[in-house]
Every structure is written in C-alpha cells, then in structure tokens.
C-alpha cells in the first residue's frame, strides 16, 4: 500500500460538495449551469493525477487514513485499486456530460437540480473509494437522497410512485447490510475492509453474512427477481438521473460483490455460486426477452441493463480471471454505452416529447448525426466486434465456456436477444415511416459535445482495451488469488490463466519475432 502525500481521493470526493456550497449564492440559471459544468470539468481534471496509478501494484494506492470515531473503531479510510479506478474515472467523466445533457431538458428548480447532481457524484465516488465499512455504508446510503430527489422532483408523470419504489427497495435491501457490517465488526474487530478481508470466519457466519450482503447488492445490480424498481425509476427519471442510475448506481452492486462478498465470505460465495450463476443467466434471458417487447425506448434500455448486468454478476461468480476481467469490462462499457443511449433518448424526447418508439420513427433521413450516434451505441450495446461491449461480453463468454460449456450455451441466446432488440429499435428509428421527424433539427453543438467523448471511448475501448486491462489485471489477480486460497476449494484449473493484458503482449511479441523469419 502506498501512502500519498496529497489527499487526491478526498479532493475527488469533496470537490463537488464544495461546489454545492457555492450554488446557493448564484442567481441566474445560466450561471448555475455554467458553474456546475466548470465544477464537472475541474472534477474530471482532478482525475489526471490518477494516471500516477501504478499498474504493477496489486494493493490499494493513494491511501488516506485518519482516525474518525475512535471508540467504535471507525476510520476515514480511502484507497484505490484497479476496480475503483475505472469506476471513479467513469463517474467523474459523466458529471460534465450530465450537466450538458440537462442544459435545456431541466427548466424548473435548476439550482436544486445541480445541487442534487453534485451531491450524487460525491457520494458515488465515495462509495468506490471507501475502505472503511461504515464509510462505505454512509456513501452508499447518502446517494439515495439526491437520486430520490432527482426522480421525485424532475421526473415524469408517474414520478412519485417510481421514486418511492426506488427508495424503499434500495434502502430495505441495505438495512441487512448494516447488520452484516456490525456482525463483521464483532467477528473481525475492525471496520477496515482490507483488514477484515485478511481474516477467516466460520462457514455458518459466512453463510448468513453473504445472504445479508448479497440481498443489498442484488437489489442494486439489479438481479432478476429484484429488478422491478429499475424500469420504473428509469422511465420516470430525467435524462441525467437515468444516466447516473444506469452508468454508476448499478455498478455499485457489482462492485459490492467484488469488494465484499468474495473477499469477506469466500466459502459462502463458493457455496452460493450455482444459485448466483442461475440468477444471472435468468437475468440475461429475462431482461432480453422483456426488452424485446417494449414500446417505450427508456424501458427497453432499462431491461437491456438488467440483461447486461447479468453478464457482470455471471462473470464475477465464475471465479476465473477471464470472468472477472469480463465483468469489469462490461461494467465500464455498459456505463459508457447505456449512458450514451439514455442521453440519446433524452435528446429525442426534447424534440418529440415522447419516448414511444412509434412517435420517433424515420430519423435516419432528417437527423443523420443523431442516427449515427444511435446506431453506434446500439451496435456497441449488442456487443458488435470493434466496439467496447464486445470485449467484455466475449471475455465473460470465454470464462463461462471454460468453466462449464452448459453455462456458456445458456447465455448465447442472451447475446442474440441483445442483437434482436437493439437492431429492432435501431431499424425502426432509422427507417420507420417518419411522423413528425421532418420538422426536427439535427444535433446541435452542445449535443455533439456530450456524444463525441462517449463515442471516442466506444471505439477506444473496443479497439485497444489493453491499457484498461493492464490497470485492472493486478487487482483482479489479487482478488482471485485471495479468493482461491481462502475459499478452501482446490484449484481446478491446472494451468493458471494468463492475464489478458499479458497474453496480448506475449502474442504480439511472438508475432514480432515471427515476422523477420
């Protein structure tokens, strides 16, 4: 663990809060938007020192630790490893984009909206950086309130129902997480996650602790039987809310599985893996099937999220390096692609005032730029080779086939369903009979500004995922090694897997050697 001198992680968490403190003194709506945009850009710029991240280290970096409430063993403990690095970068990148995509979408109570947005970003970044269980829980819950407000105040016609459902579901799930946290404190004597992960617990304890934590995370992901809050919340939330919900909030569940369930309760994770895999497959297939039948664009994308997150949880519970790599790549890519899709739906909603597919037909001729981005993100969403999602889904598929061909075979229809619903949506939007599309203008500069960065990432991560994989592989290797040594199960794979980043390099090197010959 490396100690940092400059508290960069605290800056990342609290800079948006500081921005919130200034907001009440601004009057003009435009100033507020500009100010928040600047805060967002600075926040993204604050991420630049993160490129000091040492990609060879397995442990936590940029660690900050201070005593907080001594009597109860609470500490202010932050740190970053490969997993949190990706998630933090994603969150910080999305903040300015969210401000931009709400520029004309949000017209009432602008100040409060941006206040919630900034608070939300702070809490999300905090979740990914906290290494103290209580601190994690605080950020985890603190993010509920701004999200609730985003849906409840700026949402669609059914916003009261949707916001309440979101809040009740997620909070009810995490109350047992609180109990698990307290139980771990007594069993391990500390709230510090790295220290707790180094201890062993009885199987009976792990069994119940896993169930308590998994419920909270499964609701957040959301996995199949607990997903019903998601479509409701997505449909009613404003664009920025949907983007944050899909791109960041859902990832917290998967992050929780990787950070808590596997290291703290390895034996129970092993024990429950078949169940988790079954639920993941169910999520993939169910999400895909239901998405096929949607008429509302946002609902379609929401159900597609359920399916994509199924890939993530599946990858995690395969307990193989390919699975982990795939899960993390899907997490990142789903954040980029689905975020982009929700922004596109928001952009067309501002023109048609409807999210029904049938009201937004025939955009190909009149809004070519819009349709280009839509096509790109749709292809990316279904995992088209060359785009970012392909990498992640392929890795999960490889992991699945390696672990058990039947699991692999079971999710192949899920991949095909993805192509079916996305292409159907894309086809209708591009070539359907235009109803009102003639009068609409194509993308303006502001809209270009928030689609281009995401489109670049789609291609970059799709064509050159090497750097990202190099950043996450050491961490994932650590998680996997610890898990294997502590789950008490003999390692089945006789040949240890090479991290993909290394595999790619050796292949490239091999080819380089071959060439002269």
């Amino acid at each position: 663990m490396s100690q940092s001198t400059w508290p960069i992680l605290s800056f990342l968490i609290f800079f948006p809060v500081a921005g919130c403190l200034v907001l009440p003194f601004l009057k003009e709506e435009k100033t507020i938007r500009l100010f928040t945009l600047v805060v967002g850009l600075v926040e993204a710029a604050l991420c630049l020192p993160l490129f000091n991240f040492d990609m060879t280290q397995q442990g936590y970096q940029f660690v900050e630790r201070a005593e907080w409430v001594k009597d109860w063993g609470l500490s202010y403990y932050l740190g970053m490893d490969g997993i949190s690095l990706l998630m933090v970068l994603l969150t910080a990148l999305l903040l300015p984009l969210c401000v931009l995509c709400s520029w004309s979408y949000i017209s009432k109570r602008v100040k409060e909206f941006h206040f919630s947005l900034l608070m939300m970003t702070s809490a999300c970044i905090g979740v990914f950086l906290a290494l103290d269980f209580v601190l994690f829980y605080i950020f985890w819950e603190a993010m509920l309130v701004p999200m609730f407000l985003l849906i409840a105040v700026w949402g669609g016609p059914d916003r009261r129902y949707a916001s309440l459902k979101f809040f009740l579901y997620t909070l009810a799930g995490s109350t047992l997480l609180l109990v698990a946290m307290v139980a771990f404190y007594w069993a391990g004597g500390t709230f510090s996650i790295p220290e707790l992960s180094a201890k062993t617990y009885s199987f009976k304890f792990q069994y119940w602790a896993f169930l308590a934590m998994a419920l909270a995370f499964a609701i957040k992901v959301p996995m199949f039987p607990f997903h019903t809050w998601l479509p409701a919340a997505h449909v009613e939330a404003p664009t920025a809310g949907s983007v944050l919900l899909a791109s960041v909030l859902l990832k917290m569940g998967a992050y929780g599985f990787l950070r808590f369930c596997l290291p703290l309760t390895p034996q129970a994770s092993q024990y429950f893996a078949p169940m988790m895999i079954a639920i993941s497959i169910a999520s993939i297939l169910y999400g895909g099937f239901v998405a096929l039948g949607q008429r509302d664009m946002k609902k379609l994308i929401a159900y597609s999220s359920v399916a994509h997150m199924g890939f993530v949880t599946l990858g995690i519970f395969l307990f193989s390096l390919r699975g982990f790599e795939g899960a993390l790549m899907v997490m990142l890519n789903h954040g980029i692609t689905t975020g982009g899709l929700f922004m596109l739906v928001g952009a067309i909603y501002e023109r048609s005032h409807s999210r029904e597919i049938s009201e937004n037909l025939g955009l190909g001729k009149y809004l070519p730029a819009y349709m280009f981005f839509f096509g790109l993100f749709a292809l990316s969403s279904l995992g088209f080779p060359g785009t970012n999602s392909f990498v992640g889904e392929l890795l999960v598929l490889i992991g699945a086939f390696k672990s058990n061909p039947w699991i692999g075979a079971a999710i192949v229809p899920g991949v095909m369903l993805g192509a079916a619903y996305m292409l159907r949506l894309g086809q209708k939007l591009a070539w359907g009979e235009p109803t009102k599309a003639k009068e609409w203008k194509d993308l303006n500069t502001r809209e270009w500004a928030y689609f281009v960065p995401l489109a670049i990432l789609v291609f970059y991560l799709g064509l050159a995922p090497g750097l990202t994989l190099r950043a996450i592989d050491p961490t994932l290797n650590r998680v996997l090694d610890e898990f294997r040594s502590r789950s008490g199960v003999a390692v089945t794979a006789t040949v240890p897997e090479t991290p993909l980043s290394l595999a790619l390099e050796t292949n490239a090197a091999g080819q380089a050697h071959k060439l002269p010959r």
Partner: protein, 480 residues
Amino acid sequence: MNFNSALFIPEFLQLAMTLVLFLQALAKPQQEQAAGGASLAAQTAWVPLGAVAVAVSAAFSLGDSGMMFWDAYKIDGLSQFFKLAVAVGFAIAALNASNQPTLEASKRADYFMLLSLSALGLMILASSVELITIYLALEISSYSLYALIPLRGKDPRASEAGIKYILFGAAATAIALFGLSYILASQHSSYLAVLTSKPWSWAEAPLAIGGLSLFMVGFFFKLALFPFHFWCPDVYDGTSNETAAYAATLPKLGAVVILIRLAAMLKPGLEITTVLAVLGAASMTFGNLAALTQKDIKRILGYSSVAHAGYVMLGLVAASSKGLAAAGFYSLVYLLMNLCCFWVVCRLATDGRNLQLDDLNGLYKRAPFLAFVLAVAAFSLVGLPPTAGFMGKLFLLTAAWNRGYDWLVIVAAVNTAISIYYYLNLVRHAYTSEAEGEFVQPRADSALWGGVLAAAILILGAIPTPVFKWAEAAGRQLMP
C-alpha cells in the same frame, strides 16, 4: 445532610427561573388592566434566554461529581450529560413555544412556569440515585405536564388528551410505587448503589424482580414503550403542537436516564433483560407498523416515538458501558431530531391547528428552507447517513451485537426498512406534491433556528466524537 451549592447551579438556576415565572403569574391580574395583551406576551420573552443560561451552566458542570442529600442525589457524568440535554431541549422547546397561537397571552406566565417546573423535575431525576427520590422527581415532572396538556385554547380534544394522560400516568406511577414497595421489602434498600450488588435473577430474588418490573412500568409509560404507549399518539394529537413538542422529547430523556441507571444492575441473560429486549422489539415493530397508516403528522411522530423507545432498549440490554453510552447518545439525538421536526410543524401551523400530511404539499416551493430542515429531521429519524440518527443507530446496533440479543439487532434493522415509508412520506409530500396551502413566509429567525437544529443533526452525524465522549464517560462510570 451534605450539600454543595457549587454542584447544584444548573438546578438552582432552573428553580430561580421557575420562581420568577411564578411571581409573574401572580402579578398578572393587576397588570392586565394596566397594559394590553401585547406586553403580557413580551413578559415571558426572556424564558428562552434564561433556559440558555441554564444550559451554559449545565455545560460547565459536565465534569463535576459528588454526592448530596444523604447520598440520594448523585452528580456524575451521566446526570450532568442528561442535565445538559434537558437544558438544551428546554431552551429549544421554550423558544418553540414562545409565540404559541392557541395560548392566551394571560396564561403565558403560568404555561412557562409549569414547563420550567417540569424540566426542573427531569433535571432532579437525572441525579436521583435512590428509589423514593426518583419517584418524587418523576412526579414533579409529571404533575406540571398534566396541567400543561389541556392548555390549548378552548379545544375539547385537549381536555380529553389531558384526562387520558393523567389517568394513564396516575395508574402507571401507582404501579411503579407498588413495585417500589416490593423492591424495598425484598432487597432491604432503596439506594441504587446498594441494590447493584444484590442478585437480580428470578431464581434468587423473585420478589425483587417482580418489583423492579413494576417499578420500570412508570418509566416505560413516560417513554411510551409498548404496551404502555396508548396515551402517546392521542395526547400528541389532542394537545397543542408546542406542548406536544415538549411532551414528545424531554420526558423521554428522564425515563432513559433512570432506565440506564437501572440497567447498570442488569446482566445479559437475566430474565428481566430479556423482557426489556422483547418489549423493545414489540415496541419498534408496533410503533412503525401503526405509523404507516397515519395521516396526522403529530400522530405519525407519536407512533414514531413508540418505535424509538424500542430502539433505545438495544443499548440497555447490551449491559456494557458502550451500550449505556449509546443509549444516552441516541436519546440526545432523538431529542434534537424530534424537536427539529416539531419546529417545522409548529412554524407551519400558524393558527395552531393539527397538520395533516397534505398540509405539507409543495412545501419546497412555499418555504424551501423549512422543507430542507424537515427533510434532514425525517432522514435522521429513519437513520440515514450522514445524519446523527444514523450514528446513534449504528452505535446502538454495534453495542447490542454479540451480547446475546442478535435477533433484536436484526429486528431493529428490519424496522428501519419499515419506517422509511412514513418518514419518506413527509419528505415526499413536501417535495413532490403541488402547493395547495397558503404561502407561509417563515420569519427569518424561525428559519435560522430551524437551520441551527438541522446543522446540529448533520454535524453530530459527521463528528459524533466530542459529544459521544461525554456519554462514554458516563457509561464507564456506571459500568466500568
């Protein structure tokens, strides 16, 4: 008799304030002819300031310790912590009640005299370590409250609430006195210090256990713990908003301090500890479930206080210094967040009526700052971070785990999930519904004090250590 006046300053100041108010109440008839109602109202304007002075003196006395009145009166960490809490609570409640719409100006001096007397009783209660002294202090604080409850204009519901309160209260205190006689008969002492060293298991002292259970009933009644809670929603509902704010908060502190002292005698696994745990579980579950269907905000808060009485039991059954400290800390937090909620309610009910949930509709447009204060209080009552309510609950849960009552911790956590609905309902009505009621422009000072309360809740949530260490010291003195 040993008496040290330096240790008695907070009580003395409170007593002096009560006496001045008494004189003001006596002098009233002549003055009424000379001056109008306006000057009568101004007459009691100094009360919050006086209360602040008491709070300051209580804060200075935090480190004191000593025994007085033939060892029946103990100044220690616990008593001073609670005296400070009572003084702070009284200051807020007095400020809150200073412009009560349903109280005639001519009754103000009497009202504040009774309020101040009740707070004095609670302060004495905090220091009492002898059963009969405890009983007397309890009666001092209760009797003035019996007279306060019906003071709500000419509202018949208030009289009904007053009668309910006095009947339930008299029955509960009679039971407590009956229990006291059994303790005295079987353990041959009424001093807590002596009683602590006696056995408290059913096998060894059945009579004493019966007596202690009955004695505790008096405090369960004050705390509104299930099944002694029936008065609570009705009394809040019937009495004026401002009196309800007082009755909902300060007397609970008095009950908690005595229960903490009694709990110091109990060990986990004793029958009576299990009874406490079961009552706690029943209380939180019942309170939360009953609150779900309420429409009247004061009834919601009434049932919510039944649920919170259950949460405090977590700290008491833990039977460790940390558990007792957590219970003390939580009751201080409870005082703050409940007063904060009532503060908003009292500011919105400008004509003193009972507020329904629909009266909150669109509050964020009419009075954005009060809506924010209400949201902070409500989220703190749920126990959402980063508020003090979360920290308090975390301490309680952590203290009670692994002490043989793990099931109670799980019940408490599940109850949090139940309670979200109705607390969130307050916020939801304030933030999402369209404005219907009149546009209240809260006075600048009322927004300021609401903001101070909300800030206190948030700050205690972020840095609980400075306050908690006093509670911790108190807990360690009782149970090293």
